[in-house]
Symmetry: C2
Subunit: 549 residues, 2 copies
Amino acid sequence: MPTESKVDVLVLGAGPAGLMCAQGLKRAGVNVRIIDKRPKKVAAGQADGVQPRTIEVLQSYGLAERLLREGNQMHMVAFYNPSPNGGIERTGRTADITAPSARYPFEVTLHQGAIEAIFLDSMRELGLEVDRPIIPTALELSHDENELRDPQSYPVKVTLKHLDFGSEGQDDTEIVYAKFVVGADGAHSWVRKTLGIIMDGEQTDYIWGVVDLIPSTNFPDIRNRCAIHSSNGSCMIIPREGDKVRLYIQLSDKDVVVDKATGRVDKEKTKVGPEELLEVARKSFSPFTIEKAGEIDWWTIYLIGQRVAQKFSVHERVFIAGDACHTHSPKAGQGMNASMNDTHNLIWKMTYVLRGWADISLLRTYEFERRKYAQDLIAFDKKFSALFSGKPRTEECQDGVSHEAFLEAFQTFGAFSCGIGIHYSPSSIPSMPNITELKHQSLTSHQTVGMRILPHVFVRAADARPFEIQDLLPANTKWKLVVFVGDIGPGKIKQIERVAKLADDLGKSTGLLKRYEDGVFEILTICATVKECLNYTDLPEVLRPHWSR
Amino acid sequence: MPTESKVDVLVLGAGPAGLMCAQGLKRAGVNVRIIDKRPKKVAAGQADGVQPRTIEVLQSYGLAERLLREGNQMHMVAFYNPSPNGGIERTGRTADITAPSARYPFEVTLHQGAIEAIFLDSMRELGLEVDRPIIPTALELSHDENELRDPQSYPVKVTLKHLDFGSEGQDDTEIVYAKFVVGADGAHSWVRKTLGIIMDGEQTDYIWGVVDLIPSTNFPDIRNRCAIHSSNGSCMIIPREGDKVRLYIQLSDKDVVVDKATGRVDKEKTKVGPEELLEVARKSFSPFTIEKAGEIDWWTIYLIGQRVAQKFSVHERVFIAGDACHTHSPKAGQGMNASMNDTHNLIWKMTYVLRGWADISLLRTYEFERRKYAQDLIAFDKKFSALFSGKPRTEECQDGVSHEAFLEAFQTFGAFSCGIGIHYSPSSIPSMPNITELKHQSLTSHQTVGMRILPHVFVRAADARPFEIQDLLPANTKWKLVVFVGDIGPGKIKQIERVAKLADDLGKSTGLLKRYEDGVFEILTICATVKECLNYTDLPEVLRPHWSR
């Protein structure tokens, strides 16, 4: 008999989406288990770019410090185009991140294995390890509507197979009953296929090679992100941790054999290896030289596929996230970021539903918000990939992509591609009927409802210490009540009276705070009074549960 | 027979001075041993204020991050004086740190045990533990002049006694032969007494009590540093980590019995305990209330002694550091800072002498620089203590200390007391004859020779990433060669030529760099060119040994 167990959330796949999900749920006190088919974590290559908004999200879990310590930072982007003298020349440099409100105005590059290690180590501190190597072999979802509606039921039955069990008659299968399942099992997602979810979209004709290496070069922008448009093909440079650099190299059909049936690169028949990729890059770099100093770290060849899943969940009990529900080109550096932000969106919602703080229907907003985002991402990726893979404009090729057109696209997409621009549409969250109205945009002139809170440094009233507001509102699965009380300094009698009335309303037995259990809300009060004139003790106590708030 | 061993440096005492010394030497690869008589590190109380300059120094060893994470920050200071209505009232608030160039414009408070833990943990990572409980029982210094002049000799013989050895005939004594000994063994230093070094200075009449507690209070500045001058005595508030607060409370002669012979507080006969101290504080706080919430963490009573040792070393083979060579009042928060900075001064000098990079006479500059500083500190402390311990000015007491006089003193001493103002006088360092002239102040308009390098953010040429220059010049016991090359952007032909000539001179076989072994110098080149126009590859290679420099 296989062993049987119950778990609140079973996460399938320990890539960035799955790890983000598991660490966040564990941190929130949820009974969570995470499995992966690989015996070990990724060691090199794969995705590596962390966008400004993702850094903010990692910071909200206390994970950005290590990322910033270990990673490389990209602050500048340089553009190279065909020179009238042959070869390439620099046509411009600009800030890599142009979104004005980015708290971290740069991208961080670090190989996926190191990013996964940040999650794995923080999970280990919380007492959670990835179970591996394990694959799911069957998934059954209850059809009982009452069961599906009850967040405390276990409507998902998953059969697991342990890959490392010996052959001595040991039973390698196991049954897990879960309240929720998250399929974060990659572009070839078993969960998605098992659920019969269709991917919309297509394969493009763009073929790219990727090489990670330590270069020896006289190219002056080797430590900047570079978009090289040469008459010999395009190339993108992504500087990495240490002295490493990643090159994205455009390939032509004749270099690569594509399997017509699968649409994938046929690695058997394709005679292109890392040396050949570097040789193609060298032609783009001319008149600059580039050689490898030491071994090539990692390489691959891929076709750009741009697809979004039709559904992101079944009955809000089984979800798919990350590459399992959207794939796009890696050059815009979006894949891993979108994946981590998918499950960041899911963590608090699942936690609230499991705690009984929110109705299970809250979980519908996951697909509503993240699928729309994935579609926007594909639309962005299509434009960007076409511009980047297209021929550069030269005297001979007047309808090619000009530097100006590319730069304009780069800057137009800036806010979106750095993640800062994510804007969720109004969606009624029916679980907390008295605070559902998220549409009160008229009440706030600078903060857009549906976007992340704007980073801003405030000075704490009690001790004049500056704090970034994002750090005072961490991803700790509590509702945040931020009260802007205006100027309550000496002489502001009217405003002081208004604040006192608000405090009375909030604190009375029928008030917002008393209607929910302790610990549901974290209160933060923000005053517009200059620090020298404000006594934190002047505020009503309900608005300052502790001197630090 | 006692065991015998040799060590390059033996550090006696594992307080802040000794720990700073040991971790710095270990980091530099020096064969160092550190012993302490206490079986365990300090758990609470003691010194707790870390000044802005000391934070910079800790950062230069990579130790500031944890201090900043664990410690409390003081950004504002509030002044209270007698109110015409009785009790006290606030007469002003100002920034706690007014020195304009402080990289960290605040003080950090954290109990001494936690500060020591930062050193202990970083030493452990480097493979060094404190040997304890051990006391020195004899110290002999060779009289042989040749031996004393030879940095590779072992002229100091120290006998140690292990306090935790059983009585079963085990030999609890041990002989250590050291090249150098550092006595960081506190105000009652055994090393100082053994060497017969006299302390200059005197005991004052000011008696103070100290209490660490978590308060329950309606005092609006409880989380700010406060100087309270009341008609019932003075009180200083130092907020601490968590919700803790330290109160310094002025006591009168009648509260405390002083032992005439030793000049110390007679704890036996003195009937003052923590409750009595709090009762005295309550009178100063009126009309505000203050009670303890929970137990009192730590308390003490002390007389202010202001003394400096006549000598800081004997033959530059045995040194004293920290409280062993200077004592002053704790309220200005200088003691621990001065102690750590004493040995910070000694670390690189000892290391260079041991490596043969500098003549042994370099060590004379330790006393020259640090004793002068200790004397300045006492002069400062005398003025500050007198102002703070004096009666406040009131209608009845017209010759008391006014708020204006105290504030002026506070701000005048600001640069000095935060450590930023430390300015070492020219002292020929004879060991590196070609770069001894430290007096070229005329060549640098903003950087004062003899002061720490001014913090400033520079943008790295290769990747446009901003860096604090202090972080590019860490305390890693290497000479730093910082070359300011001016603007070498497009068209600056003359300056480019000058830089090329300098590079040729530096790099040739008789040039500065080739005359010393590899690794003696770390080169950092600073350009005044705007980042968009500079290619790091345009600099001569000798000025950019790596793209990151």
